[in-house]
């Protein structure tokens, strides 16, 4: 046994031992990273401006706008801003929106392809401004809309906030 150990400490045996140790450390690190990644969510917040003054539709919104135009009186849909980031489960991702509004998205749980999100859209400087505080469960990567939040410069245009996570 001693002889075997001594042999393993020199030459190819030592190299193999080092390689094995490196692989074990790598596998452990990969596993830890995968676990950490599982607890992380990619979060996206889209700010969309809906108007009746024109029929301009942003390239990114073509599919979505086609559905919305059938249901609502608004003819134009413009992507004002897209914010993306990551958040841990229970942690929040915040995005600033037009007119002093802010969106705060907190991933609460993941069950298979379903993700539960808590979303707050509010104007911190104006407590009377319309805001929403909601929790919903959606498919991974799908977009949930909250509309009617805020106006743009006194116009009848409304803000639609789309939230998604994966």
């Amino acid at each position: 046994m001693t002889a075997m150990v001594l042999r393993a400490r020199s030459g190819p045996g030592r190299l193999l031992a080092l390689l094995g140790a490196a692989l074990a450390v790598g596998a452990f690190t990969e596993s830890a990273a995968a676990q950490q990644k599982a607890a992380q969510y990619e979060v996206s917040v889209w700010e969309i401006r809906a108007t009746r003054d024109n029929d301009k539709i942003s390239k990114e919104l073509r599919t979505l706008a086609a559905e919305l135009k059938k249901r609502y009186k608004y003819t134009g849909y413009t992507l004002v801003k897209k914010s993306a980031g990551s958040a841990k489960e229970g942690g929040a991702f915040s995005a600033s929106l037009s007119g002093g509004y802010r969106a705060k998205v907190t991933p609460l749980a993941r069950e298979g392809q379903r993700i539960t999100l808590k979303v707050q859209v509010a104007k911190p400087d104006d407590k009377k401004a319309p805001g929403v505080n909601t929790t919903f469960k959606i498919d991974r990567g799908a977009v949930q809309l909250a509309a009617g939040l805020g106006k743009y410069g006194g116009s009848d245009d409304v803000m639609i906030v789309g939230v998604s996570a994966r």
Binding site: E67, P130, V132, F136, L145
Partner: protein, 168 residues
């Protein structure tokens, strides 16, 4: 000018071993004539010996003009060698200057390709699609507002509408 008589005179002076009296031009003329016509020395043995010594001395000791020619040749050669070396350096240096950055660039490109083509990097783009079968757990409005849920039975999506009660 009678070259032969002049040469004879030079030979006679040579025979008298009066080499010191000969000017460099006369020595050159005598050497050239003797090389062209060796028979001139046939009958004058002492002169032939003296000429042989003279020829040896003349051959062994290059004149100032020859040394100048030699040095100018050396300088020309050195200058040409320097030029050639500079030219070689100029030919080689750009290659050396370019080769290493090119190798670094190629490594960066390879790294970028590996990174872009790796499975985690080719994630699908985030397309905007409405959530179907959304479950609204709770809705609470803040400020002077009220909420309405607009549910689409055929598509299964729901939009949360927030209306300003003040109508502003």
């Amino acid at each position: 000018m009678n070259v032969e008589r002049d040469i004879q005179g030079l030979l006679e002076r040579l025979e008298r071993d009066a080499r010191g009296e000969l000017s460099p031009g006369e020595v050159d003329a005598l050497v050239a004539e003797a090389n062209a016509r060796p028979e001139l020395l046939a009958g004058v043995v002492p002169a032939a010996d003296a000429f042989a010594r003279l020829a040896i001395e003349t051959a062994a000791a290059p004149g100032a003009s020859e040394w100048d020619a030699v040095w100018s040749g050396i300088e020309r050669g050195a200058s040409a060698a320097r030029g050639a070396a500079l030219e070689r350096r100029l030919r080689v240096h750009p290659a050396l200057r370019i080769w290493r950055p090119l190798a670094a660039l190629a490594a960066c490109v390879a790294f970028m390709l590996v990174w872009r083509l790796s499975p985690q990097a080719v994630a699908a783009p985030w397309e905007l699609r409405l959530a179907r079968d959304a479950e609204i757990v709770e809705v609470e409005v803040t400020g002077d507002a009220y909420a309405s849920l607009d549910y689409s039975p055929e598509r299964g999506d729901v939009t949360i509408w927030v209306f300003d009660e003040s109508g502003a």
